[in-house]
Amino acid sequence: MAAEEQPEPQPEPQAQPEPTPEPEPTPGPGPAEAESTPRHRLRVALWPPRLSRGQVVVATLLLVLGFALAVQVRSTNDHSQLRGARQEDLVRILDELDSRQQRLQQEKTQLEQSLAQLENSSNQAKEAQEQTRKKATELGVLAGTVRATGPGIVLTIDDPQRQVKADMLLDTLQELRAAGAEAIQINDVRVVAGTYFTDADAGVQVDGRKVSAPFKFTVVGNPQDLTPALNIPGGVVRSLEKQQARATITQEQKVVVDALAAPTVPQYAKPAAK
């Protein structure tokens, strides 16, 4: 009766059952033989349920087993694997997590550093761009490609006798520049570095464009500097008055130089290395 335990530790009984089932099928038809086949025993055990003491005891044990099985499966699936883990496993997992956290922390620090670097360089680039734009605007005012506004004066030269020539306008311009004029426009011509004056039959040409009296100089600069520079004895205004021309100067808090000069690209001159 202890055979239930005996076959398990010993491997030999595994081989033995093989021969036993084989002879059975041959005499199989006899009912007496069929009684002893394992299949029949299984059927008999399974089907008509008998309420014997053994069955009840076995059922109780199996109930406990099923209960434990279900509980174990449930707890394994429900909870994390940490539940039921051994102490040394937990220590190992904790160590791994610690080192992993350290690695991630290092990575985070590196990423933050590179982020700071990138932000820094991006800020620098923005700064440089801003400065470049500012510079371009300032240079545009000088080159006459940008409109300029600010305090300044408006000088109007009435010339009923048509005596004002190019040299007088040039003298006026020189005087204004010497007095610190920053943006100048004569009638609707912007005065830039390359501006030239010519006398033509019909009058005066500035940069090849005809300007006629009254000549109106719109000048951005310090009015307190510009006005005396024009009015000094023997200066521009006196010279013009000798030619029967009348110059009037008005100081204004805000004048607008809105004529634009076409930018020219130098054909021969190139920046020389320092």
Binding site: P38, R39, V58, R74
Partner: protein, 110 residues
């Protein structure tokens, strides 16, 4: 039949009730379950061999469970708990396999 019913009812009750496993039992429950499974397979095989006896089954069932849990407990105290439980599971698994093979030969004659 009643035994099979008991198993099914036990599984269903366990799934429905979902009790919290006490922490003291947690390391031993899986081993105990495997040991009990081994006993059940041995019992089925004995039944097919025609030598089943409920007394032997009860004793082997309980002793399997107790011995398995004891081995694991001892291993825990000695500091080789995980290795010992692995060994117990391996041994029980081999036995379950051999019993299952015997059952298969009986039932399918193959």
């Amino acid at each position: 039949m009643i035994a099979v019913l008991g198993l099914v009812i036990g599984v269903v009750v366990g799934l429905i009730v979902q009790p919290e496993v006490p922490d003291a039992v947690v390391p031993y429950l899986p081993i105990a379950v495997v040991a009990a499974l081994d006993a059940v397979f041995g019992g089925v095989r004995a039944m097919l061999d025609g030598i089943f006896d409920d007394k032997v089954f009860v004793v082997s069932f309980l002793s399997n469970v107790v011995v398995a849990a004891l081995i694991v407990y001892l291993g825990d105290q000695l500091g080789v708990g995980s290795q010992l439980s692995t060994g117990v599971v391996v041994v029980l698994g081999i036995r379950i396999f051999s019993n299952a093979a015997a059952i298969r030969r009986h039932v399918f004659r193959a």
